[in-house]
Symmetry: C2
């Protein structure tokens, strides 16, 4: 199921590379907001084109993995000053993209960009400003904290890391208890993804400041228990991670944070592979979770759910460049069968973080309603 999804995603990604018409590239390029301090490149223009500039004076070939050049990237051209420069063959989708740089046959990161964990490695990241970027902007509002916790895991004989978002005011309202969303990353990512790439904490801070949601806690941990290499999904088994999540992490969170511990105040959601995990674990352990979210990560059918304790909410989403009709139909089928199901399709985005930022922004106000 997961392999099939990856194949579908790749097919969509390839399809996107041919859909650009000839337009004039505007020369209003600015440094990407994800650049390392003081770095002028990579840059992005107002149309969403990205321009790269890499120093490698004696290299014979430099290619960037992003950018629609028809052969899996943008081939840079050598300047007289030792820098290689190139612009994507078309505008990129809004939001965050991973990429890397091929220098003479070896894969490296762009020294100008910050790094983000994806594809089982720390990749370069670039941000194409989105028309709706305000909802995840860092604003002058009260901010929650993101706590790194190291929780004991007997099943894996390790201390494992999770990040816990506590909403603004958590420290002060010392008797208040909060609902909890367990939120999973995708394949090749880790527990840093939802904060670093997804801005989950800023999405929550802004929704809370606008009075649009009831504050809740978010817990993000690593969704695998084995060492993963490229292609390693073949041997993926859910049980070891399910044990870590349900038998080890949930009890840790419930004893170290002020949580509401009944099913109706605990939700699970995930993107891509994290959605697959959510699907499986909520079906295996319906007594633990009351609301479910699949973000570009599979579907529920009424048949799967029929002998289960009823979910308070089922949220299913994807980007418009993925399989929006399947997502909408799944929610319709669930609604017809009497479930509180909601679908969401992110406009003009694919299997990338802009889809998931928007999905969290849509999901959060629906969670933990009475």
């Amino acid at each position: 199921m997961i392999r099939k999804t990856i194949a579908v995603v790749l097919a969509y990604a390839l399809a996107q590379t041919t859909s650009f018409s000839q337009t004039t590239v505007k020369e209003d390029f600015k440094p990407s907001t994800l650049n390392q301090p003081g770095q002028e490149y990579p840059q992005v223009n107002s149309q969403g084109y990205a321009r790269f500039r890499i120093k490698a004076p004696k290299a014979d070939s430099v290619r960037v993995s992003l950018g629609l050049g028809g052969k899996g990237g943008t081939l840079l051209s050598k300047s007289d000053d030792g820098f290689w420069v190139g612009t994507t063959g078309g505008p990129m989708d809004e939001g965050f993209h991973y990429y890397n740089v091929n220098i003479d046959g070896g894969k490296f990161n762009d020294p100008g960009a910050k790094n983000y964990y994806g594809s089982v490695r720390w990749e370069s990241g670039i941000e194409i400003p989105a028309h709706d970027q305000d909802f995840y902007a860092l604003k002058d509002v009260p901010h929650g904290h993101v706590q790194q916790v190291l929780f004991p895991s007997k099943s894996t004989n390790t201390s494992r890391r999770a990040f816990v978002y506590t909403p603004p005011g958590y420290e002060k309202e010392s008797s208040k208890k909060y609902p909890v969303l367990y939120l999973q990353h995708g394949w090749g990512e880790d527990e840093t993804a939802w904060s670093n790439q997804g801005h989950a904490n800023l999405i929550m801070d802004n929704l809370i400041a606008e009075g649009k949601i009831k504050p809740f806690i978010i817990v993000m941990t690593y969704g695998m228990t084995n060492e993963v290499k490229m292609g390693g999904m073949r041997n993926f088994k859910i049980e070891p991670f399910q044990t870590v999540l349900v038998d080890e992490l949930i009890p840790y969170v419930d004893t170290h944070f002020r949580t509401l511990t009944d099913r109706s105040n605990r939700a699970m959601a995930g993107l891509s592979m994290g959605g697959m995990e959510t699907h499986t674990i909520t079906l295996n352990k319906p007594e633990k979770f009351g609301s479910y979210g699949l973000l570009s990560g599979g579907l529920y059918t009424p048949e799967e759910l029929k002998d289960q304790p009823k979910a308070k909410l089922i949220f299913i989403s994807c980007g418009s460049k993925e399989r929006p009709e399947a997502v909408k139909k799944a929610a319709e089928d669930l609604k017809k069968a009497g479930y509180n199901a909601v679908s969401y399709v992110s406009a003009d985005t694919g299997h990338e973080f802009q889809t998931w930022r928007r999905s969290l922004h849509e999901l959060a106000p629906l969670l933990f309603k009475n």
Copy 2:
């Protein structure tokens, strides 16, 4: 003062490169503990030699910035399989080292290694196992949390980031208040350094588990307010950061965490540039801080302190390859003048994180004693 220190440090670093005799390199290399998941290289052997292996099939020249080759690094040799391989010209000092890879004249990171913020960029990191690594090892003991906070800063018109270590048990002992150490990184680093490179949280967890210290909070924030490029120290002024630290961060911490807010329960320490900042800020604002720590970052003289409220503790340290005699003499002079001064010299280390991990491990048990 800071520029002079950097010059001295560079002189020591250069001096180190010639001190290695010919020995047989043992073929017991293992992947560095800081490698990205599944990556076999870089590797380290039991003598402290490092070996690098970089894929760049069509490159003409690959050099690693670490490693005592006499020309500022280790020149790798091309293998038939498209990989470049090389071993340092001698054993490296124990502990953490930053490095980068020069591919055909451009500076990149090693795709095999994780990245750490230093030198105003995310650099590759490698760990040479130390004989005393147990004190910062991840163990099966209760772990404190490291909280990312975004605090409002009117003086810079931004939300600024800090990391706050709260000791194990902080959540449960809901009426207990804790002393606070403000702990600063060095030049070119940021607020991630003390946790990522320094393992400050694990050092504390282990000391607390052994009953060797009274638990306290550590606050780590970015020690500059301007955008810094290489060489940018020339225009560095302390006042803007002092305002952020004293007038904005301390009040935020004291309202969002359960802190003891009197001078005797607040300390400041820093490494290298962070020591210089500690020196200046504690002399400017002695009513705010009761204990001072300079880790490879300058000295106090009795003359500077004579009209000041008396410090409870003055801790001065460095590596044995830095200026140990100056550090010891400064503490002696302070003791003669009636101050509670302590010096510490880290054996066989230079201006690197192993010196500062050890310094924190020495400093922590001395802080906040009654």
